[in-house]
Amino acid sequence: MDTILTNDLTVAITHIDGFIYPNETHLLWSLLIVIYPYITGLVAGAFIMASLVRVFNVQSLEPVYRLSLLTSLAFLLCAPLPLLFHLGHPERCFEIMMTPHLTSPMAMFGFVYAWYLMAVLLLELWFDYRRDFVEWGKTEPGIRGLIYRLLTLGVQDLSAPALGLDARMGKIISVVGIPSAFLLHGYVGFIFGSIKANPWWGNVLMPIIFIFSAIVSGMALCVFIYMFLCWARRFAIKMNCLDVMAKFLFYALVVDASIEALDWMHRLYAAEEEIHVLKSLAKGKLFYTLLIGQACLGTFVPLFLLGTIQLLLKKIPEQIRRRAYMVSSIFILIGVLAMRWNVVIGGQLFSKSLRGFTTYKLELAGQEGWLLSLILMLLPFAILGVFVRLFLPRNRLIAATA
């Protein structure tokens, strides 16, 4: 019978191990849904780096304050793109803001995004840059000048009380921004954490793990971009600033690694019904991304490098420290991407019947292909490049405000 042949071929092609529900053959949330939490995580993490300056008064990080905020903004602007590309009906995306279902964590996306973009990030940037916009608007020619003048929103007042208000508002927004950043990324963690149907996802620690790995990745990104920008503009790196960034990165990494380790320890100890399929998943399909990518490269190597430097700070020459920071930040960025892969893809690789696995076929082109995801990951860097040209002038590279 032809149908029997088709049955066997379908199974053979998709390479199913064991038994899966028939509807689970093809993964629904693919690479696009891997990079979306990665991008919002970078947004939240970069913002936390900036808020360390304003809220926690870490003065040595002043040189990267503006860069961190601009990084956060560049990535935030690209954040909805993977979602739009993934939806079956992107033309209906407005429904999520018109009739948001209040029991769904996904429904808060539109509002949280709009709030974070407008009421936190753009507002904080505006208050910080307003004085510069007024001044640049007067001196810069052509379109650049026009852009700066538009961005002043017509408020030309540079008196002492006005500038004082700018500083105060900046601080208030920073304080409000921290929980907003947590909400922006934490809700994604809650989306996964709330799915009781999936034992890999449905977990109390999931939002916490997402938030802390987001902070780690955002800080690593700031380190990477700061070092890259200094190299590109042939500017001397302020080691004081970089050392402090790395210190906070290390602390965040310790907390993140501890919480992820706690998750695993609890799973292995409680050993519920799903532990067998999850162990097979970790050792088998997720061996490279989980054990090598996330654990070794993304966690242990940076912990070792950054931890050693923290212990022996003065004794390690500057050049070695810089190399170590660069390597650590790149590994962390890879490791956190691997973590998102392990959560999203890993959660769909095993069957909810806990009896088998399917395979994920990563295509090159098309809506779910890696080419599109690569472009979406590079786009924020291009936007950041534009921001750096417009808002971080060469003569005051990564300059302090006021």
Binding site: F94, E95, M97, M98, T99, H101, L102, M118, L123, F127, R130, L153, G154, V155, D157, P161, A162, L165, D166, M169
Partner: protein, 150 residues
């Protein structure tokens, strides 16, 4: 009325906020579907739209209109639990135009259920087709409407 001493930045920002929020509220009024919320958080019209789809299978009651004697006969024998379309498949074209015949019956129609298999309960009549008069067609000896007639 004297204008309160609100700093110009705040005034400008409040204005922008007001414009954005108003646009949102207006759009929400326009774009929310009309029947939304009648029964719950969904378009009540969806219930009508879904139930408006055309059924494919006709159902036993339709066959009963013309073939009542067959159904009455069948009700006395082991196949009383089967619907007509279980074996004859989609009957709607035949209901609309009786000259159109239903799908051709083959041995596979019978063997699909009656071939011996692990998992089939013991009370269910099963045969091993290779050993059970393999040359003849099932209908040579059995009548699907009264399969256990002596």
């Amino acid at each position: 009325m004297r204008w309160l001493k609100i700093p110009p930045q705040i005034v400008r920002l409040l204005l922008v906020t007001f414009v954005i929020v108003s646009c949102y509220l207006i759009l929400r009024q326009i774009l929310t579907p009309v029947s939304f919320g009648a029964f719950g958080w969904y378009r009540a019209q969806a219930l009508e739209e879904i139930s408006a789809r055309t059924p494919v299978f006709a159902g036993r009651q339709e066959c009963d209109q013309c073939h009542a004697e067959i159904l009455q006969t069948q009700a006395k024998f082991a196949h009383k639990t089967l619907g007509c379309e279980t074996c004859h498949w989609v009957g709607q074209p035949h209901v609309e135009d009786p000259d159109v015949k239903t799908a051709k019956l083959t041995d596979h129609t019978c063997l699909r259920c009656h071939e011996q298999q692990a998992g089939r309960p013991a009370w269910f009549k099963q045969i091993t087709s290779k050993k059970h008069y393999a040359e003849d067609r099932c209908t040579e000896c059995h009548d699907g409407h009264k399969p256990d007639e002596k």
